[in-house]
Amino acid sequence: MTHMLPRLRVWTQRMTGDWMIWSGGIVLAILALLTITLGLNPPASAQTGSLLLRFQPPAPGGYLLGTDQLGRSMLARVLAGAPWSLGIALVATTIALAIGTPIGLIAAWVPGWPRRIIRMLVDTVIAFPSLVIAVTVIALLGRGFWPLAMVLGLATWPIAARVVYAEAMGIMKRDYVRAAVLAGVSGPLVVLAHVLPALRPTLMTMFAFTFADMLIAESALSFLGLGVPLSAPSWGNMLSDSREYMINAPWMLFVPAGAIVLAVVALNLVGDGVTARVRRSGGRA
């Protein structure tokens, strides 16, 4: 039986990759569309509810996803929460990568003191429990979209830097990078023209996975009451709200949890899909 394993592996490799990118990508595209259209201009039922309609279970004719403890539409709220949760995660990811990538590249390219200092800095920041930092900063800056996004981004950039550093070190060993150096191309230009493009697959997968992590982190912080303002319908806040009423109105838990899971799974699919594709084509030429 074990002799069939190589066959199985080849089949799974060929099957994965592309369909993963497609399915994950379509879900993300739909989420993005909904966020931009309905999420930013949610119907009033996201904010105001009728107390007469509290705890309505999901019904095909009425409230599709039910109502919460204030009679607000779960569907409207989860859509209204999307710009918060997805938005914060997006900004945080962008900050993390925007800071982490150049720092990782510098550490890889410049040996000696710069590399040592950066590595020490990265190790130190990673060693700190990020939750503690988050709590402290939020306490100082107050709550809201931007403080939260910044905190998450600043807590995560060292991880991105580490990944970029490791990948870049490997890329720099390749002959074509050496050839560029020996042709007299200046350091920064070699990095821009050769190393950065070679990093593209890594950056793409890192973006997808970090986005997922940030989404979960925002949910966690909001759930603990340390994230976005309490009135904002972020998915983490919705989870927090559902705590008291879970037993009687389980949909209050499942709707935001489902949204989070959907987004995270879609992101992971895209990330894994890109990885599989890279592996299959030996480096995504």
Binding site: D175, Y176, A179, V181, L182, A183, G184, V185, G283
Partner: protein, 341 residues
């Protein structure tokens, strides 16, 4: 010949510190390459030949000794100061599949060294067309990417890139060993043609002795980071003075070599960390004496442009005497096999 050599290494040493100890990759290596000549550098694993190539290209900094290009000391130069050198000295790598950036078009690859030298666009475009022609590739290759070319074609592109800025010398590290036999000959011929047309000097590093013998004017043999013998190519093969060279010649099976004298060296090339005392070759040498274990032989002049580092040079009988003895009729039959219709 009193002309200034184009490239000269004097007592060059390169040492690396590794977790397992100090590695003497190169130890007191001296050699010269003159304008327009093709020098072959042969050695097995641990010989330091790749390290020597990279040191000459100044990708590695020498730990000791000096490196001169056209009379100027380049050993201590760094960064921007190396740019003028880059125009005159270039390199071709072994693996045609990793030496070209798969994301770039051929035109960009060829333009890169020229941009670095400050050429302007029209001049670069004209040069690209010239280069493709010089290496036997069609003009439309410029817009394509490396993946669309075979190994032999990619190596041509690598050579085109190397000669783009018009260097006086090119270091080729195993330029054909990753290619099929029938393609190797295409590249070898190209290298010889380029040398003849532009007075280009080649330093060809290889482990394949017949190949080096075919293309080189002079051959230098490295063993464990030291030069053990240096001679004009034909002389080195016909009458090797160093026992290692004799062993190498005898060890190489070629089609016309099948009846060669048996001289199979025992043992294997040692690791550069654990070097033997005295002559680095003595543990494997068939004619080593007591002296060889304690005294390290220096590279001495043996006349006729030959140098050898051995206490007892020329003792081992030449392995190919059957091939090169002019009075036996078999000697001529062993040239390339004739075929007629």
């Amino acid at each position: 010949m009193t002309a200034t050599p184009l490239m000269e290494a004097r007592n060059l040493s390169v040492r690396f510190a590794t977790p397992r100890g100090l590695v003497h990759a190169l130890d007191d290596v001296s050699l010269k390459v003159h304008r327009g000549e093709t020098v072959g550098l042969v050695g097995e694993s641990g010989s330091g030949k790749s390290t020597l190539a990279l040191t000459m290209m100044r990708a590695i900094e020498p730990s000791g000794g000096s490196l001169l290009f056209d009379g100027t000391d380049v050993g201590a130069l760094r960064g921007k100061a190396l740019k003028p050198l880059r125009k005159r000295l270039q390199m071709v790598f072994q693996d045609p599949y990793s030496s070209l950036d798969p994301r770039m078009s051929i035109a960009r690859i060829l333009a890169e060294p020229l941009h670095a030298q400050g050429w302007d666009k029209p001049r670069i475009n004209a040069r690209i067309a010239e280069l493709l022609d010089a290496v036997g590739l069609p003009a439309d290759a410029a817009s394509r990417k490396p993946a669309q070319f075979s190994g032999g074609q990619r190596q041509r592109i690598a050579i085109a890139r190397a000669i783009a800025p018009g260097p006086e010398m090119v270091v080729a590290d195993e330029p054909v060993s990753a290619l099929d036999v029938s393609i190797q000959a295409q590249i070898v011929n190209l290298m010889q043609d380029l040398s003849a047309q532009t007075n280009l000097a080649w330093l060809v590093i290889a482990h394949d002795l017949p190949l080096v013998h075919q293309i080189a004017d002079r051959i230098i043999v490295l063993y464990l980071g030291r030069v053990v013998e240096e001679a004009p190519a034909a002389d080195l093969i016909a009458t090797p003075l160093h026992p290692y060279t004799a062993g190498l010649v005898a060890a190489t099976p070629t089609v016309d070599n099948a009846g060669r004298a048996r001289l199979v060296l025992k043992g294997e090339p040692p690791s550069p960390i654990d070097r033997p005392t005295g002559c680095p070759f003595h543990p494997r040498c068939p004619v080593a004496e007591a002296r060889c274990a304690t005294d390290r032989p220096a590279l001495t002049d043996a006349g006729d442009g030959r140098h050898v580092a051995c206490h007892y040079p020329g003792i081992v009988p030449p392995p190919l005497s059957r091939l090169f003895t002019k009075h036996t009729p078999e000697g001529e039959d062993h040239a390339r096999p004739q075929c007629t219709r």
